[in-house]
Symmetry: C2
Subunit: 155 residues, 2 copies
DNA sequence: TTAGATGCAAATCATTTGCAATGAA
DNA sequence: TTCATTGCAAATGATTTGCATCTAA
């Protein structure tokens, strides 16, 4: 319900084709479309719980289990990347062509992305030197961001 | 019970003084002594569950809650470091003067440590460039180790 | 003697799973 | 129609907590 779009026929067909491709033949359900669009809209990172919260506002009957199952699927399809930024729970982000790493603020939790080719090159070299066939590099720093530092200085 | 040591008086006093210092004045219980020695003996990394298993063999009544509470305390005292190596659960290791990072094998779970000053310098620089006051750097790579690669090739 | 530590069981929290009902193709 | 997906509730697995009891100092 609520799925009758105001788009023209051509546009609807284009969306269907696009979704079919993204989901590589798997059924295109309203939940999957909603979740994927919310992740994309989130820009940076989103946790399963937060995603569930936002999805619930659009489709009140969606379940947390579906969110997890869908994230699992998206991971398998290579649509999103799972990141465990030193926390118990995971963050998910759209898989970009540009790889990047993270800076996490201890105090406000803000996640800042960065990318450094020299670092990646060095890291890959270390992996090779140890005989590893590297499939994932995860680097993150924890600390206090500029703003939180400033705010602390006020006391 | 079972705490009557065969050591001489001087040695016992030395141990007590050493423990008191390590635990910064907190009560020195047999559980704490046992857990700390087991972590040290483990060398590299140990998970809470594994630590509990080993401790149980020495002191059958110790509880998992005590293991977790003690690890928490050791973290606060700076005796051990908690590492979340891309897994749901944590690994703990004695806090060494030498910082290092990790390579984790996807297939056998083996954890290899490495340290690279050039990488650290680059990473710290990135943090500073972003206005962060860095307190922790965590870098890990996932992949297949040499041995697991070889074994896969056999099939 | 007493504040802090322990063991136990129950509680949390993130994530997963079994199953009957539902929906996409 | 048919097989994959969904929602719900119950299960899991790691970690935490309340509480009565114990113990180091």
């Amino acid at each position: 319900m609520g799925e009758k779009s105001g788009l023209g026929f051509d546009m609807r067909m284009r969306n269907i084709r696009k979704n079919k491709k993204e989901f590589s033949g798997r059924p295109v359900t309203s939940q999957r479309k909603l979740l994927l669009s919310l992740i994309k809209k989130a820009g940076g990172h989103i946790s399963a719980k937060e995603l569930y919260g936002r999805a619930s506002r659009k489709n009140e009957s969606i379940s947390l289990a579906t969110v997890y199952r869908t994230l699992q699927l998206f991971k398998e399809l290579g649509l999103v990347q799972e990141r465990r930024l030193g926390q118990v729970y995971c963050h998910y982000e759209v898989k970009e062509s540009t790889d990047h790493q993270h800076l996490v603020c201890r105090s406000c939790g803000k996640v800042t992305e960065f990318e450094s080719l020299p670092i990646r090159k060095l890291v890959e070299r270390v992996g090779r030197d140890h005989g590893f066939n590297i499939s994932k590099i995860e680097l993150y720093m924890e600390g206090n961001c500029q703003q939180c530092n400033r705010e602390q200085d006020q006391f």
